[in-house]
Amino acid sequence: MDKPIRVLVAKPGLDGHDRGAKVIARAFRDAGMEVIYTGLRQTPEQIVETAIQEDVEVVAMSILSGAHNHLFPIVVNMLRERGADDVLVVGGGVIPDDDIPVLKEAGVAEIFTPGTPTTKAIEFIKQNVKRK
């Protein structure tokens, strides 16, 4: 049997809304993944450091404060700089449609907006993760 997929669920920025992050973390775990949750108020540096230390294959970030355009691309770039460009980066939260193409351009593989079933995010990760 395959090793479980290792996922880091992260809350970048100052936003304290973690209902979504915690629900998705639990859904990933119930889907058989190994999940690490960072807790609140993580800087991009901290997220990337944890991702590398924990050797994760996926970084799933949640943000509801509107700071996604600033923070998501920084995380992607820092992962690349540290040679971890094989890590699949996905994001979720209150993210306007207009911002999604920009974030994808910046290297975020997929954005999940409010109302997305957890199963859809799980399916996406299973199909797109690069196994180590």
Partner: protein, 559 residues
């Protein structure tokens, strides 16, 4: 014939009805579901009769409005005397932009202000702090110093409006700024009306904008209680909030339980700090959510009032009736709004508004239809405010007090929620009180379990959310969403630079030094903070000094 005989007869008649009518019907036409539940997953019976409320003692359990235990409301005439305060939470970008929105809302008939601050302000960082990058002006207005506060309330007479500020960890600083702006307008602090949220425990539980550890945070709160009792007597010194607990996924009963458990912790902390209960308790206020299950929400508000009255009277021996009255603000449920078919949210908000009003709220914020997508546009905010006005002036529900009292279902559910909440509070007492229960992650875990169960119910289709898992359509991306000018961060930085160049920095440092010494001791910190604010010390500088002395809170993570 005694009441008991009458209840027996009703009970027997109900059994006859079930056997003779119902069973035959159910055999032919079964009900839609095997089990019916409320929005909070509590089981609902087919029919409620006097038998379900046989324990209810009218005088003891309901009484009269404005009288203990306040089940029917905190004022004798409720909305016949004065309608609730219509108070839309607003604030974004700069103080200038937000000032414009406030003036617009006041022109539209809003009766109180409610200030939303951006995240750096809520966490005590100035706009030029590295962690503020990308967050300045996003979820609320950026306030760095008294300068911004002067602009925010420019042309708004602070002796005429009441202002609610959603600020917690740095509540003392923002309150000090408000007092200082009033001074400049020639308004003394005893004339000020308003509320600071100032509820740190629910930040640890659910909302996340904490700064300091529990102990110094509780000290700041009791310092505010004490200071306001003397100097700002009409101010609501705390708004003990279930709103965010519910948004994090709790049930209605958990919302009541954890909010009142937090309330108990604040009252106890103030008593431990040497205050008399009746000296500060009349200024405690509450803040609840209003979700879609109309009747359960009405029952929730009534249960919360009754339970708090008993707690204050029996547990804390309060004598002043005002100490026993649970006065509350309500906001409609943000997490019930859908990004899909956003106009449907107008209907949800209307139902939630009805629940809040039938539940006897003192003030209300109605969410805008587009809030699952972005900050609300001006047009959406107007519809939200009109929703309140339609309920107030056209629906008729404001014309009599507590109109749902006596409904067998509502009374049975009021009892049920009160009972469940009291059980949770007993459990939290066993754990050593709310702060300890939070440190252990108990409260967070209970909420997360409810949130996860709800999500799974939606995904399985067991719980229908219109437009999300049923009745979906292909949609065009919504238009006219509000965008915050990305240059706000730069503008705030420039303002700060200017401020630091033009103020008397020697005086600023002197006041910050005094504050630091006081923080290390046990004096009331409010006067020191007020002096620093008057010299234009920034929010980040003041909180920075307190961070040095107090340290920072470490979140306990449970999944």
């Amino acid at each position: 014939m005694s009441d008991m005989d009458s209840l027996d007869r009703i009970g027997k008649a109900k059994r006859d009805w079930e056997e003779q009518k119902l069973e035959k019907l159910l055999a032919k036409r079964p009900e839609r579901k095997d089990k019916f539940v409320t929005g909070s997953n509590a089981e609902v019976e087919r029919l409620y009769t006097p038998v379900d409320v046989e324990q209810l003692d009218y005088l003891e359990d309901l009484g009269f409005p404005g009288e203990y235990p306040y089940t029917r409301g905190v004022q004798p005439t409720m909305y016949r005397g004065r309608l609730w305060t219509m108070r839309q939470y607003a604030g974004f970008a700069t103080a200038e932009e937000s000032n414009k929105r406030y003036k617009y809302l006041l022109e539209q008939g809003q009766t109180g202000l409610s200030v939303a601050f951006d995240l750096p302000t809520q966490i005590g960082y100035d706009s030029d702090h590295p962690l503020s990058e990308g967050e300045v002006g996003k979820v609320g207005v950026a306030i760095d110093s008294l300068k911004d506060m002067e602009i925010l309330f420019d042309g708004i007479p602070l002796d005429k409006v009441s202002t609610s500020m959603t600020i917690n960890a740095p509540a003392a600083v923002l309150l000090a700024m408000y007092i200082a702006v009033a001074e400049k307008q020639g308004v003394t602090s005893d004339k000020l009306n308003g509320t600071i949220q100032n509820d740190i425990l629910k930040e640890y539980i659910a909302r996340g904008t904490y700064i300091f550890p529990t102990k110094p945070s509780m000290r700041l709160i009791t310092d505010i209680f004490e200071y306001c009792a003397k100097h700002v007597p009409k101010w609501n010194t705390i708004s003990i909030s279930g709103y965010h607990i519910r948004e994090a996924g709790s049930t209605a009963a958990q919302e009541v339980a954890f909010t009142l458990a937090d309330g108990i912790a604040y009252v106890q902390a103030a008593i431990n700090a040497g205050l008399e209960v009746d000296q500060f308790a009349p200024r405690l206020s509450f803040f609840f959510n209003s979700h879609n299950d109309l009747l359960e929400e009405v029952a929730k508000f009534r249960a919360a009032r009754r339970l708090w009255a008993k707690i204050m009277k029996e547990r804390f021996k309060a004598k002043d009736p005002k100490s026993m009255m649970l006065r509350f603000h309500t906001q409609t449920g943000g997490s019930t709004l859908t990004a899909q078919q956003p106009d449907n949210n107008i209907v949800r908000v209307a139902i939630q508004t009805l629940a809040a009003v039938l539940g006897g709220t003192q003030s209300l914020h109605t969410n805008s239809r587009d809030e699952a997508l972005a900050l609300p546009s001006e047009e959406s905010v107007r519809i939200a405010l009109r929703t309140q006005q339609i309920v107030a002036y056209e629906s008729g529900v404001a014309e009599t007090v507590d109109p749902l009292a006596g409904s067998y279902y509502v009374e049975a559910m009021t009892d049920r929620i009160e009972r469940e909440a009291a059980e949770y509070i007993a459990k939290i007492d066993e754990l050593g009180g709310a702060p300890e229960a939070i440190d252990k992650g108990y409260i967070q875990k209970e909420i997360q379990d409810s949130a996860y169960r709800y999500q799974m119910e939606v995904e399985s289709g067991e719980r229908v959310v219109v437009g999300v898992n049923k009745f979906q359509i292909e949609e065009q991306p919504p238009k006219g969403l509000l965008k915050v000018d990305p240059r706000v961060g730069e503008m705030q930085k420039a303002k700060l630079e200017e401020l630091r160049r033009t103020r008397d920095n020697a005086k600023v440092n002197e006041e910050l030094e005094k504050l630091k010494k006081a923080a290390a001791g046990d004096e009331n910190l409010m006067p020191f903070i007020l002096n620093a604010v008057r010299q234009y010390a920034t929010l980040g500088e003041i909180c920075g000094v307190l961070r040095e002395v107090f340290g920072e809170y470490k979140q306990s993570i449970v999944l």
